[in-house]
Each structure stands twice: as structure tokens, then as C-alpha cells.
């Protein structure tokens, strides 16, 4: 208990230092704010379901192409806050265009990476990030922030892939079939509709809906904290 409090304090101190180093703006505001506490109940928990489309899987070598996000307030997805941003990057999309549906032309019409990061930081302030296989999102956002603004972006996240493995294990033994944790498969397993498009916003919404079902399955309607989600 004492140890964990010590860690939290140290992390806060570090984040406060970064906040001072960051240029004024949404990223600095984000660093200066605190995410929802671990004891927050899921029924009150503000999250931001977010999906990044990237040129690859390595945050240091690959680039962000687009981001889609939608706020989740407690157990309700708020479509009014849905956004999709295309990043104007000096890279050739090449083959990945067939996957993401993002062409070079679309990228040319996008916004600068720094603007994109600031928009994300603003939307994420006071919220927990929600993503499917969240290390990609947290890793790319933090690495890009470090490159663009000189500070990393510490993010509190809930991972629907993790949650899915808990949901499946709770009634399907230990062995999961290959691919069982993929977003589309996870949704199909829980009776959610199939989404065709492979766009950042669609995936963010798909992830948010999946989360609503997972929380219901894991909590069984009883109170459940953020900490229990991150276990």
C-alpha cells in the first residue's frame, strides 16, 4: 500500500515536470491534469475510445496515419464527441492504403501531426484511454509526442483485448482459439454486429461498444472500479 502510493507520487511528480517542459497548449494541460482515480466506478468512468491507423507496428519507426475517437461516459457512448483526424505526413502510404482506405491524397488533405496530438490530448484530458490492444495507441501517441513536443505522453488505459481474454476465460477454460481476441471476432463472440469499414473512427466505436458488453459481463451488474478493469 505504502509502496504503491510512493509510485503514484513519483509518477505524478514526473508528469508535473513534463508539464513544465511542454509548450503551452492542450498537451501541457493534459499533463497538468489527473486521470480518473482507480476507485472510480465504471458507471461514472469517463473514457475515450481511440484507434490509430499507422504505417506499421513500431512506434519509433512507423507513423500515425489517422486517429478516430469517441467519448464513453460511464456506460454510454457519446456520438456527439466522435472525431476522425487524418495526419498529414511526409510518407508514402503505399500498400497500407488497401488496408486503411487512406490514400496519399487524403493524407495530403490532413492536419499536422502536432495538431493531431493536441486534439487527442484535449479530448483525452480527464479521461481514460480505451483501445483494443492499447499498447499500440499509448506507444505511438507517446512516441509521437516526444518527437513533436519533447515530452512523453503518459496515458492511463483500459484494453478491451485484455478484457476480452478475461470474458472468454471466465466461461471457456484457459485455451483460446487463435484469433479469438481480434476486435471483429471478439464482437461477433459477444453478439455485436459486424462492421465492414476499417477506419479509425469505426474501430474506435467498435471498441467502445465491445467495452459496454465486456463491462456488463465482467461486473454482472455489480459495482466495478477502474482498478478492477485494469487488473
Amino acid at each position: 500500500m505504502i509502496l504503491s502510493r510512493f509510485r503514484v507520487d513519483r509518477r505524478r511528480a514526473r508528469q508535473a515536470r513534463w508539464a513544465e517542459q511542454a509548450p503551452p497548449g492542450p498537451v501541457r494541460d493534459y499533463l497538468a491534469s489527473a486521470p480518473p482515480g482507480p476507485r472510480t466506478d465504471v458507471s461514472d468512468l469517463p473514457l475515450l475510445a481511440l484507434d490509430l491507423e499507422t504505417t506499421g507496428l513500431d512506434p519509433r519507426a512507423d507513423h500515425i496515419l489517422s486517429v478516430g475517437f469517441v467519448p464513453v461516459d460511464g456506460l454510454q457512448i457519446n456520438l456527439a464527441g466522435a472525431e476522425q483526424l487524418i495526419c498529414r505526413a511526409d510518407v508514402e502510404v503505399g500498400q497500407s492504403a488497401t488496408i486503411h482506405g487512406i490514400t496519399d491524397d487524403a493524407l495530403a488533405g490532413g492536419i499536422a501531426l502536432r495538431d493531431l496530438l493536441e486534439r487527442v490530448a484535449a479530448a483525452l484530458t480527464g479521461r481514460v484511454l480505451l483501445a483494443h490492444h492499447a499498447v499500440i495507441e499509448t506507444g505511438f501517441l507517446s512516441a509521437a509526442c516526444e518527437r513533436e513536443l519533447g515530452v512523453p505522453l503518459p496515458i492511463t488505459a483500459v484494453d478491451t483485448m485484455e478484457l476480452q481474454s478475461r470474458v472468454l476465460r471466465s466461461h471457456a477454460g484457459e485455451d483460446l482459439p487463435p484469433g479469438a481476441l481480434r476486435l471483429g471476432t471478439a464482437r461477433a463472440n459477444l453478439g455485436l454486429p459486424r462492421y465492414a469499414a476499417h477506419e479509425a473512427l469505426t474501430d474506435a466505436l467498435a471498441c467502445a461498444e465491445l467495452y459496454l458488453v465486456q463491462v456488463d459481463r465482467l461486473s454482472g451488474g455489480r459495482p466495478m472500479t477502474l482498478k478492477a478493469l485494469q487488473r
Binding site: L75, Q76, L79, E83, G191, L201, T202, L205, L212, D216
Partner: protein, 623 residues
Amino acid sequence: MADAEIPEVTDFLAEQAPFAAVPRSDLERLARRMTVRYARRGTLLMSVGRGNDEVFVVRSGAVQITDDSGTLVDRGGEGTAFGTTALGGQPSRFEVEAIEDTLLLVLPSAAFHELAAAHPVVGDFFSQQRATRLRHALQSMPHAQRRTAVLQTRLRDLVRREPITTTGDATVREAAQLMAREQVSSLLVVDGDRLTGIVTDRDLRTRVLAAGLDSSTPVSAMMTADPVTAGPDDIAMELILEMTSRNIHHMPVVGGAGGHAPLGMLTSTDLMRLERANPIHLVGDIAKADDLEALVALSQRLPRIIDQLVHEDATADGIGRIVTAVGDAVEQRLIHLAERELGPSPTAYAWVVLGSQARLEQGPGSDQDNALVISDDATPADAPWFEALARFVVDGLVACGYPRCPGDVMATNPQWRRPLREWKRTFAQWIDEPVPDAILRSAIFFDLRAVHGDEGLVEELQAQIRRSAPTGTRFLAHLARNAAANEPPLGFFRGFVLEREGAHKDTLDLKRGGFHAVVEVARVHALSRGLPQVSTSSRMAAAVGAGGLSEETAADLHDAFEFIRYVRLLHQAKQIRAAMPPDNFVAPSELSSFEKRHLRDAFHVVRSAQQTLLHSHPLGHVT
């Protein structure tokens, strides 16, 4: 940067029935006002008696909708929409349960109302289920309640006067004197409260006078003992068959505890009067009436005709037309009598009826509302003639059972007895410089119809209204607000009672937030599109043609209008029979559960039409 489209939601909505008709750009905006929620199987999404502020669309999964009696109403999967019935805190009649794990798209009521106002097809879709039930109710009524054509009338409803009775030991002379005094052709002879015989005119002639009996002979010696009788629940048709086959002209109706107490006497004349109740005869008789006295006597036949029609297979709309036809005939005859007395009119004029009579929707006990449009050629010297005309007709109408208008909208009021040019100025003022109070009082003038005189004068006035009203944005917005101000008494069905004070405490007002609200809604539709129609049903039909109302909404409103007015007529027929003045206030105990259920549906239809109207004529930037 523009708001992001949410393709998965927009695409989904575009495939669902009510939303498919909405342009994609509007759907995109709509999607952004929605939230997404999840409900596991077994979750109650709506409960009976609770209101809500949201409309739900099933994104995946399935729901089951049951009504307050537990009857399954609907069961639906993807695309099923519900929740509009309980918007604005109205108690839900339904219980909605997720019968599978269900993902829901949720739309706040404000967004829904805006959508329904912009795209009537959406509002229609959601009121269709309710309307379907209401229509079903109307269709089933001819069998359930309107079954009785004239000859199906129960005898208890034909007996119109207390039985005239005597006893067996009375003399023939006493019996004859009683018959003369009461102006009846027969007597019921009783022993205590038991019927023992009857005596008729013909008996006095054949059994007493022709047989040379003394006038002191006791009735018991010459009466028809133990006569054939009928029961109060027998129908007129049976009575006719019985009387025809036995060749008798008098039939005592008996009933009561022992089944022998005399309730009254029915004669062949009573049956003939059934035919005479035909309003066409009445209108013909009125047109021939030679003086006020005759008109007054004829007018007294109207309540009976209404009573009769209510029990025949007549619609409220049909009865409204008949009552109006009689009202018109009385008014026209009075004007004719006045002209005969006053001499020919000094200049052209039109006698105008307003409000319900103008709309062909006059009801029993309706006040009179009338006005005079006089030719601009009139001189001040002509004024006394028109004043005398107005007094003659208005007083005559009062004598014939049409009470004075409490708001003094009558031709006797100099304000409403004016040359055409002044009428034009008044209407222009109402439309172009609307004052909320004045609009409230002037609404009735926008339902006008000439019943006598130079119709061209009225047509000129109506043409001006048709031209200017559609552009009178503020006028229309105020009119729409008035139309929506009288909320249907939906709270009534939660056990609350609407009229809390005064003579009509603890009753339901069928007029104010009921059928009259439909009148007001139809009026706004007609005026805002410059339509010439005056009756509510024709206004709604024309509004459909002009694109202001969808066919479904118009059909729903028509049904609601008919049903509420029909319930009112049932109520008024009861009052007429009890010799009470007819009104619009129904006690809850008077209503059958059938009527209560469908009144509620009808009121919901009215409320939704009011709200849609309000949204399409916003006042926000107006006042």
C-alpha cells in the same frame, strides 16, 4: 473542420424504415446526437407508467413490447424503434424488455421532435402503431356500440314519457277525462304497480259508446285485460312485427323487479315518428315554417334526432353535418322571416356563420357565432335595418335553442356588423400585426361561411385571408402556439383529473385539449398554406395535398377527431335524455374501459400533432 461522419451509424439508420426517407446529410447530424447503450437480456428498457425523454432504436439484439395488460404488442430486432409514446414525461403504456443482449442507439426527445418536424414521415412512422390501434377501435365500434340502426333501438329508449295510469275501479268517464287532459290515446290500468289491462280510444268508441254502456261503468269491465306486453330491452323491429301481426296499435312496455310494472306505452304513432325523426324531413319542415313559433317547435325536434343518430350507425362527422344543416336552415328561415317583416335589404350583405357551424361541426347546445358583412355601398341610413335584422335573427336563434355567444361574437355586436372594407382592415390587422390576445379571440373568425345573401362579399374576404395568412409568420406562430397550448388531458389516465375547479371539477374536458385541439391544428395548416377549406376534415385532407401533413398523420388526426367527438356525442345524448344541457365534460365513471383506452390513444395523436406543429412554427425569434 467539419464534424466527422460516423459511417457505421449513418449507414445503419439509412437502412431503417423511418430514417431511410431522411437525406443523408440530416442522418449524419442525427447520428451525432445519439448515444449508444447496451442492455443485457432481461433488462427493462421502459416500464408502464413511467415517462422517458428518449427514443430508442435497436442496433443489434431484440426487444419485446407489451402493453399495460401484459398483452404482446410487438417483438422486434435490429431497427425496431420505440419510446416515442412516452416522450415528455408522459406515462408509458408499454413495457419494453430486452429479450436478447441488445445494443441501442438512443436519441434525445428534442432531437426527435426536430427530426419529426423537418420530416413528417418520421413522426408518422412512430405514431402509426398507436394509430393502427385507434383505427381498429373505430372499425370495431359499429359492431360494438353503434350496432343499433333505427329499428334496432331498444324500447326503453323509445319510451319518452311517464306512463299514464288509472285503476280498474275508476269509471269510464274518469278514464276519458284523464286521456283528454293528458292528450293520450290510451291508458295503462294498474293494480298497485302491476299492469292489469289497457284502455284505448278505440275501446271507448266500440266497447262503450257503440255498446251503449254507461259512463259510470268501471274501467275493469271494458278494458283489455292482461294485454300483450313488451320488455324494455326488446327492439323496435320486434315491436313492429308484433303489432303488425296482431293488428294492435298500443303496446305497454313493462319491466321492473317483477317484470310487470308499467314503464310506458308505445303506439304505432311512436314508430312512425321514428321515421319522422329523419333530419331531412326536419330541414324541409323548417324551410316551410311560417313564423317564429313554428320554428321554435321544430327546433325542439333536433335533440331527439341527435339522440337517434347517435344510436344509429352515424359518424360524429355525419352528425355534425346534420346538426349544422338544421342550424343553417333555422338561421336562413329566421333571416327570411326578418326580411319579410323589415322589408327588403337596402343594400347587398352576407350573413356569416363562424366557428363550428362554419366548419360543419356544430354540436348539440352549440352557441351561436355569427356576423354581418355589408356591401361597401351601404350608407349610414342603412344601419338601422341591419341592426334590426341582427336582433331579429339572434333573438330568434336564442328562442330556437342556440344560446348567445358568451364572447359576444354575434351580428348584434356593432363590431361584427360592418362593411366589407372594414372587415378587410380587421383581418389585415390580425394577420400583419398580431397581438397574442387578439389572435386568441380572432381565431374563430378564420372559420367563416356565408349562409345567406351575397356570397361574393365573403369570397372576397376569404381570398384576402388566403393571400396574406401564409406570409404572416408571427401570426401563424402565435396561432400554432395557441393550438398547442391546450394540452390533451393525458394526465387523466394516470388517475389525475384535469378540471380541478368550478362546475366541472373531476371531469375530463373532451373539447379543449381534445377535438378542439385538432380543429386548431387543422386551422393553422390551412391558413399557413392559403387553403380555402373550412371544415376540419377537409382542411386536413387539403393539407396532405399541399404537402403540409403526411397522409398518415392526417388519417390519424381524422380518427382521433372522430373518436373524441363520438364519445362526446354519446355523453351528450345521455344528457339530452336526462333533460340536461349538453356539455363537453365527461366524468371518468361514465367511460367504458374501451373508451378510456382509445381516448388515450386519440389524445396522444393530438399531442404529437401539436408538438410537430409547434416545432414547424417556432416562436423563438418571433416575440
